[in-house]
Symmetry: C2
Subunit: 281 residues, 2 copies
Amino acid sequence: MSNKPVYAIVGLGLLGGSYAKGLHDAGYHVIGIARRQETIDYALANNFITEGSIQPSDIHKADIVILCLYPKVMIQWIQEHKHDFKPGAIVSDIAGVKRNVVKPIQYILKDVDAEFISTHPMAGKEVSGIEHADPSIFRQANFIIVPTVDNSEKAINAMMDVADILKFHHISLLSIDEHDRMIGFLSQLTHVIAVSLMNTHDHDKLVDYTGDSFRDLTRIAKINEDMWSELFLFNKDILLEEIEAFEASLDTFKQALKNDDEETMKHLFIQSTNRRKKFDK
Amino acid sequence: MSNKPVYAIVGLGLLGGSYAKGLHDAGYHVIGIARRQETIDYALANNFITEGSIQPSDIHKADIVILCLYPKVMIQWIQEHKHDFKPGAIVSDIAGVKRNVVKPIQYILKDVDAEFISTHPMAGKEVSGIEHADPSIFRQANFIIVPTVDNSEKAINAMMDVADILKFHHISLLSIDEHDRMIGFLSQLTHVIAVSLMNTHDHDKLVDYTGDSFRDLTRIAKINEDMWSELFLFNKDILLEEIEAFEASLDTFKQALKNDDEETMKHLFIQSTNRRKKFDK
């Protein structure tokens, strides 16, 4: 690979668009691949990409291909187009779950000369589409690389470079299981709670009285139903375990309240206060 | 009462201090009553009050007395000092619960010439104490007046004036039951959820991966254990009902996930998204 790899971004939505623009702004040759010509036209007109195509086979020109698609579609896409990768290409993703994604893809690619290295940029917005793409969303975000025993140093370094070019705040390496458990708790469970709280009542008439507490707890209840139901089902067993761990914690509090057990309630408040302090930025 | 009533603020903590400073800054005569002379000295030195005293009987000089104490202590305080109120005085509070507070106090005051009108300023901070007092916390906040059939127009108007002087964003009138149900859901349940989520695991090693979702959902898990356990126990039955309503909503989601019922999951996401949109500022 030359010093300046050629990138292909497959799927120009919110994240794909942000990747493309960030890499292009930094002076890299970026090939944008999308299903619709309008998306390519928009990306070219707004200087997100160097060239664009609705032909998947155009990935053959890229040293590094980053797939910015939903997991299910991505696995299928790689299956269909695996013979179009340039020999020696590094292939990556942005999927929010890993256990049922990384191994299947590495298996699909085992008979072609392309290496799949999985990553998860922990960034996003409540809105989707290339028109909201903006590489500045990466500035405060974590970039997680999820290597397996099948990955090379070269591929890991290529992803470190991507994180560096896109100015991610922090880079970490996690195993597949560590990743999915962390995501199950920190991201998926929090979304389940926000959605369930929002769905508890029809609260129209409460809007006038709402303070920051309720708004903070339900901000992420605005959620893309297609993406999140797919991500949840991909991580179903871990997420169910996390929901049950939270239910047990909630029940401990409920029993204390029910029994007028002020001492236990205070203990739980002190514990949560001390734990939360470590999360202050 | 003259055009310019004299105010007494009993209890100069975060909220009492903010009330005192806001009223004093607006040119009113404010008597500060606290237990410790150091608090009075601080309040005088920082122009929070016109005069200060550690003698509860000094409330006899005030037309309007606002008790900024925890509910249990407040009820006891009124019982002990009810004969010190100036004849015709208006007495108010800032308590976060009302059912087991307002009626008992009105009962205590039935044989003295003083009228209790309850209010709830929906403002606060994660920290306590007069040194954090700041009347600007009221600018974005709701001021709720909770009148009963025993209250006069004059007392309600006196509280409207207070909200006006302190520049609250919005004034509403609610019945005792409406107030406690609204608070049980919007404020108390959200705190129970935040605390329970924070207590689900010991998350030390997750700090590096935490994004805004988890931080948003746990911000209010830093909580004053004495005040909140008291408020929760005062509103126990309603809060238990709200916890159970939330548990049912969470269980609906869990069952959908367990059964791979993508349609129901999507329906729940769409519902929460639509409901949350109404709460956008």
